[in-house]
Subunit: 503 residues, 2 copies
């Protein structure tokens, strides 16, 4: 090879005259330019493997740069393996033929994913595609969007102060990785809150701080089931849970929901025994049904008998609008076979990305190892600020204010529906939370309606998007009232009603 290569004198102009070095205050350092030009020439095959480069002195003179610049570029390229110094000087190293690869890669996106090229794992993409869309899009600021709390009522100034204080007080030590399961102060505050407000039985050790409820659900699925296992979900039910369970390669078995919540029959247990059951007992999502005490106890008893775990998602139960708060299922029995999941997305704000998982005490010793490998501890400053927020009463005060606000917003939405929704419909839910579920006949297909609404600046969700697969009764809208001012409901519902009549 070396014998067939052109002489350095012939080589260098060819490489370097293509683009002369840039000079000036703004230019890249000469050494880096030289390094890059030579590297490109080698990769493109213009400097053939084995060909000899000019000596550093000659090249420096030819380019009008200092000899040190050339030596540094040569050394760098040698360290990277592009050049091989030998007794006679410096040669281009023998590399794999990138030219062919480059040509193939350039044929376009489709080609890059054709057979024989790297491809996606079809499994995950396909599994996730099984979940229905809701038509609500991602513009979370739009009115009627379910699941978004009253953002402009959040005490942002108090939060900024809490965060600033937490960063200052924690000092450089809190910049390091934290406990994988979360900041001890926050785990203690969450345990206290859950035991007082939700009747959850737990010690701080059982609390795992997660990146929102979504990570908590994903951990449940991955820690407590094996791929291919069956998971029961509510139908209609929360899409995020289905995504987490499907991502863990669980088979979803949808069970119907009525006014008492999830209906599981003895036949379901006998014919389709699950490994995991996802359930929203306090406020079924999206219908708003409350799982009755008798079904709660039966479910826990059956879960014990069949060796399965219940995942209780208590996503917005802090906002109870009628009567006293209904306690968590987890707290009904000691050592219930329940993993309790919650989030601060509804009580504080979604982009905080903090949620939690309460592990059954019996699982603690077995899960600490795996969790330590999977988790790296959360954003410690936010966790510490939140712990402070909970301890000094800001959190409870905010909950109280929001409960009153949401109650009045819900009543304004109900009034608007009664006065302005011109088609026959039925309102469900509303005992707690941030949304109402409205069902109507299939003459007004909900997916088309949600899309139309989106185009008109609203983001209700299509009820059928929560069903798997949607039946004729699963036609309706899920209307969020959390982030929509009361005075807007009348004009919004009028607009919705107009869209329905035009369908």
């Amino acid at each position: 090879m070396p014998s067939s290569s052109p002489s350095p004198a012939l080589l260098m102009p060819q490489v370097l005259l293509e683009a002369t070095l840039q000079r000036g205050a703004d230019a890249e350092p000469l050494q880096r330019q030289l390094h890059r030009r030579l590297q490109e020439a080698i990769l493109a095959g213009r400097l053939a493997p084995g060909s000899r480069l000019p000596g550093s002195r000659a090249l420096a003179e030819g380019l009008g740069v200092s000899r040190n610049t050339v030596i540094a570029a040569y050394e760098q390229l040698s360290a990277e393996g592009y050049l091989r110094p030998d007794r006679q000087g410096t040669r281009v190293a023998a590399l794999a033929r990138p030219a062919a690869a480059t040509a193939r890669a350039r044929t376009g996106d489709e080609e890059a994913l054709s057979p024989g090229q790297p491809a996606l794992a079809q499994g995950l993409a396909q599994r996730l595609a099984q979940i229905q869309p809701t038509g609500a899009g991602t513009r979370f600021g739009l009115p009627l969007r379910p699941g978004v709390p009253a953002l402009s009522h959040f005490p942002l100034a108090a939060w900024r102060r809490a965060l600033d204080r937490a960063i200052t007080e924690a000092g450089p030590g809190a910049l390091a990785y934290g406990e994988p399961l979360g900041e001890p102060a926050l785990r203690a505050a969450v345990a206290r809150h859950l035991s007082v407000a939700r009747g959850v039985r737990c010690s701080p050790e059982q609390v795992v701080i997660t990146e929102g409820a979504q990570e908590a659900l994903s951990l449940c699925a991955r820690l407590l089931s094996n791929p291919g296992d069956r998971a029961w979900v509510e139908n209609p039910g929360y899409r995020g849970a289905k995504a987490a369970l499907r991502a863990a390669d669980l088979t979803l078995h949808p069970l119907p929901v009525d006014r008492e919540g999830l209906c599981a029959t003895a036949q379901d247990w006998a014919l389709h025994p699950p490994r995991l059951v996802y359930v929203t007992p306090s406020h079924q999502y999206p219908t708003g049904a409350v799982l009755s005490a008798s079904r709660r106890l039966q479910l826990m008893e059956d879960a014990r008998r069949h060796g399965c775990w219940l995942i209780e998602d208590d996503y917005d139960s802090e906002f109870r609008h009628t009567g006293e708060s209904i306690g968590a299922m987890q707290g009904l029995l000691p050592q219930a076979p329940v993993l309790y999941v919650g989030t601060f997305s509804k009580t504080l704000f979604p982009s905080l990305r903090l949620g939690f998982l309460v592990l059954p005490e019996a699982l603690l010793p077995r899960l600490q190892g795996p969790l330590g490998e999977l988790l790296r501890g959360g954003q410690r400053h936010s966790q510490l600020a939140l712990a402070q927020f909970m301890e000094n009463g800001e959190f409870a005060r905010h909950l109280g204010r929001m409960r009153r606000l949401y109650r009045s917003r819900q009543s304004a939405l109900r009034q608007a529906l009664q006065q302005h929704l011109a088609v026959p419909h039925q309102i469900e839910g509303g005992q707690c939370g941030l949304h109402l579920c409205v069902r109507f006949g299939s003459a007004w297909p909900d997916q088309a309606l949600a899309e139309q609404a989106h185009r008109h600046g609203m983001a209700p969700s299509a009820l059928s998007g929560f069903a798997l697969p949607p039946g004729p009764a699963d036609n309706g809208l899920v209307l969020g009232y959390g982030n929509t001012p009361s005075e807007l409901f009348a004009p919004l519902v009028q607009r919705l009603s107009g869209l329905m009549q035009a369908l």
Copy 2:
């Protein structure tokens, strides 16, 4: 049943005299106390199914509370399904038999996990247990701990200001869920930084902001492989990557590492073709080898031919100590079959929990859907503050300062090893990053040494903890110098040397 139940007059004292209601300013509201006592009595079976409760007036008189308190408690229990109002008054509902379940649950932790009770998915726990320990523990503040940057040199005040400004400027809108793939401002800043500093070819659209490198690795594994697929890892190699790949149920195939980095032979490709290859080309973790240009090109070419993806983890390459920075493998070829992973844990601080993943352009259209289901957008305030930090030059200035600091710390550590480590050893790595790798004979077993060191207030990692399985050559220590002041190295290495001689 009703006929066999005791009369209300007999029942109520039995239930309520067990613990009289608490009164006083600090006491729980009476209605909630009453609700809880009745609920407990029903769950414990002391109030039998079908038994009739006293009328609200009678009970209110008996307890000395207002009648409204009793009515509210009864209504709440009825709503929850514990009581059933009928024409004669209020009866206890028929519930599943919780007593038996309770008795079984109370037999202890072991019992709760015995056959027939819910159990862990053995798979994940067992798969993660395969990964060796390093003996370094979780006390990240200890000196010599690898992977921790100089925490007390982080410009905490500037960061607080950036965060505060970001929260104020973004206003209530940024409290909502963000783009699943990350804040556009941060994705743009990362793309610019990577293209200038690392030679990565990418547009902002290809950048996904993740919760640290660990989430990025986990996404790669889950999106690009199916359970049971084979993944190549470097041996010795990064434990976090192995945990992410094992958690996705991939089979790990360890390949040796020499002075030119990962060694993959034609035989490896023929006999054990991988679906994913995890590689640290700029600074192999933990040996510090630099993957040579020839191997980089060969690896990409082979990956294309075999339809596999390369995961390039560029975790600490910003801190180059000798010569110019070596560019990322991803940037060597257009449309390289490479997923590029990076983190801000080393450049800023670990508890920030921000990292990123650069997707190949060709995968974008296929991955946006699945990523939208799996991700909820990150902590937007931190992301916005970081974008500002990168745009206003704070980030680059901090990198420059830290590069100089780490260079001097590394040289102090080298000097201390030369002067004070009394056993024959060999130092590897150090061309960039925050750690050195020191190998020595198996007469000084590294796991025992790391444990001893931990007891003496240091946290080096045992090299064998990175091997799978460890061979006789994988004996040594990984010494972090990022978070350890230079003047400490001499006494620390003296102490280590003493521990080795005592072994």
